[in-house]
Symmetry: C2
Subunit: 225 residues, 2 copies
Amino acid sequence: LTVSIIIAEASLELVPNELQNHPSVRHEALRRNKSVSKILLDRSLHHSAMLRLENSEKRGRPDLVHMTLLQITCAPIFLNGKINAYVHTVNNEVMELENAVRIPKSYFRFQGLMEKLLAGGRSITEGKNLISLSKMTLPRLVQSIGARKVIGFSRLGQKKPLELIAEENIGAENVALVVGGFAKGTFSNETSSVLDCKYSISNYSLDSHVVCARVLYEFEKKILR
Amino acid sequence: LTVSIIIAEASLELVPNELQNHPSVRHEALRRNKSVSKILLDRSLHHSAMLRLENSEKRGRPDLVHMTLLQITCAPIFLNGKINAYVHTVNNEVMELENAVRIPKSYFRFQGLMEKLLAGGRSITEGKNLISLSKMTLPRLVQSIGARKVIGFSRLGQKKPLELIAEENIGAENVALVVGGFAKGTFSNETSSVLDCKYSISNYSLDSHVVCARVLYEFEKKILR
């Protein structure tokens, strides 16, 4: 059994070229003594700059990605190497997280780590690669994982209790679980194209970090106990 | 049925008097254009200042409290008013969260909100009180809630599956669930004194935000579905 969790279309990226001259971006870069091309796009700081940005509702929320990554990397199922974790960003950058990685809980440190990774275009290592970065679409990632079944979680999916989804799929050979890494909107057509099924696990709309916490917990119950 | 969740001994406070002259504190205050008495104690910034601080392992982790609060306030059981939430800090300050409160996901905004609340010593309101602050010990809080049964979660507790704990207690009249809000160490004697029982819900040591996510999810399954 191989289980992977993929955060899809995650709203994590450096400030794009066309916004690097905006006052809010230049102000932050100056304040932090950084280059405008090496800081994370962040809606809470660059809101006015983002108004005309394409696909903007899925962009500039590194805070959400941070929370989601902490839910994943602090779960025993991940710490014990029973699930593989990937972040696919809205710009088709893919991070693969090793089970030994510790994501900083302090946002300042997370911010610095991500800026270094995305600006450097390389891996974060400590002896071995802890986070590897590559340029890859979601369909290509799913193919490289070799997933035989790809399950998406979406409020628009078929209603099904999460325990049942876990129960039905722990016998599968290679399953990938896909959770959106954005604050608003739904999966793109490209993301939807890789999903074999789409489930809704609550009567309520759930944030990405809540979905991840629950998905990992129910799979952990079947796999790790 | 009344269910409450209490984050106990949470590592959230303003920089204490005795550290306000330390260079790391003065530097941050200057950089952020704030008074040294009105910024949060943060180990990732004030580590050297905290070396000789009493009870220091339970202090200066507002990042942990942020994550934990987001797990609570984003859960449908909280959003639907089926659970009451409290933060009891290491300095015996108690915050009561209204179900309408939205905790900022951006750490910068959370930091500002908490600084305003703790320095002002008053409530955060938007028409009505969203977060009320008062000076109160944990035993006094438990008494004011009127909890008939108080359950603590600790890796030192009796091993018991969380589903079973939820199952056994949804019939209770008034139950309080206590989760530690610190990175290291165990409950103080005062905290332990209010617990009727102490359970360990995993074979692994779990972070506070992971415990909260799981506890709320299992109780939500019994109460909200």
